[in-house]
């Protein structure tokens, strides 16, 4: 039978309720031995290494750089990768030691995972010990406590899976500090299509995404406010063109691998590196640093009919480019109506750093570049 042991955030300092997951020491999906260091967490005062309690396959459910609650489950070590992943997908993920509060470890862990204070939980068992079933009952009861107008229409469907929760936490943390707004611009793809077709006919996988990454790498250095951050009233700028892009695994998970110094890569190098990075992310063989430190992100939603993609910047970034699906529109060339392949770019950006004219000027530069792409 497959066994799974949760990876739980320890209490580094007595007064800290959260810690920062500084880095993963091993990649998602790695096989670890008992005692192996798997990640580092830190507070403002201390840092700590988390080691594996057991041997097995580690599946991560939190992202490096995230602030995570003490007691939260940030991954699981299973006898198989599938077992660990299935465990994390279940609402019953574990955490926080009971610390003498009259609860079993499993109950304490479940309570911590759901942000439940054990003081609120009534016991059904003997000697007043709070068990996992007590916490589960409390969570179910709490979940039903939707506003009266909603409760009768909904059923409790469990907790948000860990991977989704980690992404949500990242975006919530990011967007809390930004004054987000967006601007759109259309781009004709005749020239881009010609390049893509030429490469594909020659047996090289090239796509619009690769062309967009390359064009962003060329255009972005002239717009430093889009790779800057406001932090506690100070301005910080990311000087390197380290560009992330959104990749999707076959089971629907989103990843944002980072390509370094994109402005110094050829189009062929970008195509090769981005596909290799996406494949490593999908295989679970990427390292934590492969997802860290991007200056800017590109999110393409190629679902036919998608006309506008308003994306949210990741934590540590202030702008993100949404790329719509491709469509055919009628345009005018030399007084003649002609069908043209088009795409719409949507730049979401922090209005604390730049205004609409600045943002639109970046899009104009990007469109100009893409409408006359170079190989």
């Amino acid at each position: 039978m497959a066994s799974v042991t949760p990876l739980v955030v320890p209490q580094v300092n007595v007064n800290d309720e959260t810690v920062r997951l500084a880095r993963w020491s091993v990649p998602d999906g790695a096989t670890v031995a008992a005692g192996d260091a798997v990640c580092d967490v830190e507070t403002t005062k201390a840092a700590s290494e988390i080691t594996a309690d057991v041997a097995g396959v580690l599946v991560q459910s939190a992202i490096a750089g995230e602030q995570v609650a003490v007691g939260a489950v940030i991954g699981a070590i299973g006898s198989t990768r599938e077992a660990a992943a299935a465990f994390l997908a279940e609402p019953v993920t574990v955490a926080r030691p009971a610390a003498g509060n009259g609860a079993t470890p499993k109950a304490a862990v479940l309570a911590a995972q759901h942000g439940v204070s054990l003081d609120q939980v009534r016991t059904a068992g003997v000697q007043g010990t709070i068990k996992e079933t007590d916490v589960r009952r409390f969570i179910d009861a709490s979940a039903k406590a939707l506003p009266a107008g909603l409760a009768k229409y909904f059923v409790h469907d469990g907790a948000l899976p860990g991977f989704d929760a980690a992404i949500a936490a990242n975006l919530r943390r990011s967007t809390q500090g930004l004054i987000l707004t967006s601007v759109d611009m259309d781009c004709r793809l005749n020239a881009a299509h010609a390049l893509v077709q030429e490469a594909q006919a020659a047996g090289r996988m090239l796509s619009l995404l690769h062309l967009v990454i390359a064009a962003v790498g060329r255009s972005l250095p002239s717009f430093p406010r889009l790779t800057s951050l406001v932090w506690e009233g100070s301005l910080y700028r990311h000087p390197a063109m380290d560009i992330a892009f959104v990749a999707r695994s076959a089971d629907g998970r989103l990843f944002t691998p980072v390509l370094r110094a994109v402005d110094q890569l050829s189009l062929a190098e970008i195509a090769k590196a981005s596909q290799a990075a996406a494949l490593r992310a999908m295989r679970g063989s990427a390292k934590a640093e492969d997802f860290e430190g991007a200056a800017f992100t590109i999110s393409q939603v190629p679902v036919p009919g998608t006309t506008r993609v308003v994306a949210l910047p990741s934590f540590g970034q202030s702008a993100i480019l949404g790329v719509s699906s491709e469509r055919t529109s009628v345009g005018w060339v030399d007084g003649m109506a002609v069908a043209q392949p088009m795409v719409t770019f949507t730049l979401s950006y922090d209005h604390a750093l730049c205004d609409g004219v600045y943002a639109a000027s970046f899009l104009a530069a990007l469109v100009k570049d893409l409408e006359s792409p170079r190989s």
């Binding site: 006919a201 996988m205 999707r248 090769k272 596909q275």
Partner: protein
């Protein structure tokens, strides 16, 4: 005329491509050595990654991540598979 091992490879590749690129039976049957992504609208960069996954499962091997951009033709896929399968 293709050899028996090559025909077997092609058959496996067709099955993988049909699943990853969501092709009809007719489109899958039309796949040949000279097929490239520009001939199949479903052969997008995302579908290409899923195709690589499917090929790895079908033939029980793992490609070098850096080489997958070059696997954008059936001929290249056959070549890569033969290279890996040859001791």
């Amino acid at each position: 005329m293709s050899s028996v091992p090559e025909r077997e490879l092609l058959s496996g590749i067709r099955a993988c491509m049909q699943a990853a690129l969501k092709l009809s039976d007719a489109d899958a049957a039309a796949i040949g050595l000279t097929t490239t992504p520009d001939q199949l609208p479903g052969w997008t960069s995302q579908a290409h990654l899923e195709l690589v996954f499917a090929l790895e499962r079908q033939f029980d091997l793992m490609f070098e991540a850096e080489e997958i951009a070059e696997l954008a033709s059936v001929k290249a896929i056959v070549g890569a598979l033969e290279k890996v399968r040859t001791p």
